[in-house]
Amino acid sequence: MPTIEIRNITKEYESEGEERTYALQDINLTVQDGEFLCILGPSGCGKSTLLEITAGLLPQTGGEILLDDALQSGTSRDIGVVFQDSALLPWRSIRRNIEFGMEVAGVGREERRARARETIEFVGLKGFEDKFPHQLSGGMRQRAGLARTLVANPRVILMDEPFSAVDHLTRLTLQDEIVRIWQRERKTILFITHDVAEAVYLASRIVLLSPRPGKIRKIFDVPFERPRSRSDAELLSIVERIYVEINKPASDEETEYSI
């Protein structure tokens, strides 16, 4: 069953005196219920734009987004977003940061506390709930950001390069963590990254975007059970195939220009 349908999404920017530039051109994508989908692409290919349009944070120029077969306009509490740099509010403790969404939605104090406590434990932040964001490491802040989204219990979670700001080793731990969370919660996840190995390790399907204009270049299936091994030969071969695809010129037309 599809959870999210992205239909003919186009985003163009008009700049004065110049031709229109397409950030995204005619993107069509169906994300199945409970799927872990990675959107992979170099910087500037419009993947963050696509995420923001899906989240309802940015208006599209054309096309439509459907959530559970219903046309979306604007944001929805069924769609959660995990931001690139956690975007915790520095004046709130970790617990109060995690409660933010529930607070805004008018969830009662008791229930807020209880749900926050459970999620804090789940993401491994127990003992840090009264700390403030600046007192935590980057990895822990990202866990808190994740908890803030999880606790609001959205149907879909959009993640915008959530681990790009943390060091490599923390990143690996967080990847395992996200797989564990996905397995338990069975959320539909749309995960944006520019890291090929990360995409292959996490996703059930990888959408490769090419830049200028942002278009879907190819979709790769990663049909392996989890937990996966990073050194698994089959995974590595997919990584290889993706690299080949990225380095291959997009079309004959483009070849002429690049020579």
Binding site: L57, F83, P90, W91, R92, F100, A105, P133, H134
Partner: protein, 288 residues
């Protein structure tokens, strides 16, 4: 000019540059590095020498008593005035004028700032008017204020408000405009209402900037009240300065100047204390 440009940018735009500058100012303003003890010793010695020189210069009439008062004269004057109870009434009046004017500026400035931030259209509408009033050198309005409100309490309070209000207002507005885009997106993702966004995201983001405004304004309020009382008054510290000057009571002039300085420093300290209590546990500018 930069500030004006920022204001004209409207509430939809959020500048990063302003934030970086604010951070730099903050870092230099606070947490001074400890000096080695000999530097402190030299500084104290310098002040002590100056005071000693004043003492002897006046005592031995190396310099006219009209120009300089010796420390002992100043202390004597203080004791005399305390004894006569001729200091407290003036101090009391000035303090009340400052307190009321400052309170109105703080509450009104932050309040109108919130309205501007919540309803950007109101800012657009009122901006030229505000800019015009702000552009008038406030001291030039004093005679008019006296015509309107008399030489008493009211005209002083109004001048303090004119001195302070806009500063607090624009620090609130520019502070809110420096809110991080991610934080605004966060509010939208969770579908926060306008009120919730203002009070849970924009205002807390503006808090460091608001406190900067309140800090600067604290010293300005004292300046304003002294000036207003010097222009026309029947009491207050500014009046006391005028009166002392008229009768060439130099020690009293020195005394009041010192008193006003202490008040100003104390007042700024009080604002700093309030900021530390309110923002005790979070670093406003920590990169998160």
């Amino acid at each position: 000019m930069n500030k004006a440009a920022e204001r004209h940018a409207g509430a939809g735009e959020y500048t990063k540059g302003g934030r970086a500058v604010a951070k730099r100012i903050k870092n230099t303003g606070r947490r001074k590095r400890k000096n080695p003890p000999w530097i402190t010793a030299v500084q104290i010695a310098f002040v002590a020498l100056l005071l000693l020189w004043m003492q002897f210069a006046v005592q031995n009439e190396w310099i006219s008593r009209v120009f300089v008062a010796s420390p002992s004269q100043i202390v004597e004057e203080l004791l005399y005035m305390l004894n006569e109870n001729s200091l407290w009434p003036h101090l009391n009046v000035s303090l009340r004028e400052v307190a009321l004017g400052y309170a109105i500026s703080a509450v009104g400035g932050i309040g109108l700032g919130v309205v501007f931030v919540a309803f950007p259209l109101t800012e657009k509408l009122l901006d030229p008017l505000m800019a015009a009033v702000m552009a008038v050198p406030k001291t030039a309005i004093m005679p008019l204020l006296i015509v309107w409100f008399g030489v008493g309490f009211k005209s002083k309070v109004v001048l303090v408000v004119l001195f302070c209000f806009f500063n607090v207002l624009y620090n609130t507005v520019t502070g809110a405009k420096q809110t991080r885009t991610e934080h605004l997106k966060l509010a939208r993702v969770f579908e926060a209402s306008r009120t919730q966004t203002v009070f849970k995201v924009l205002l807390p983001s503006a808090l460091p900037s608001i406190f900067n405004g309140l800090r600067v304004t604290a010293a300005t309020a004292i300046t304003g009240v002294v000036f207003a009382e010097m222009a026309a008054a029947r009491n207050g510290l500014g009046y006391l300065l005028n009166e002392s000057q008229a009768v060439l009571n130099t020690p009293r002039l020195y005394l009041v100047i010192i008193l006003v300085t202490i008040l100003s420093v104390l007042f700024v300290g009080l604002v700093n204390l309030a900021e530390r209590i309110i923002c005790r546990r979070w670093k406003p500018d920590a990169a998160v």
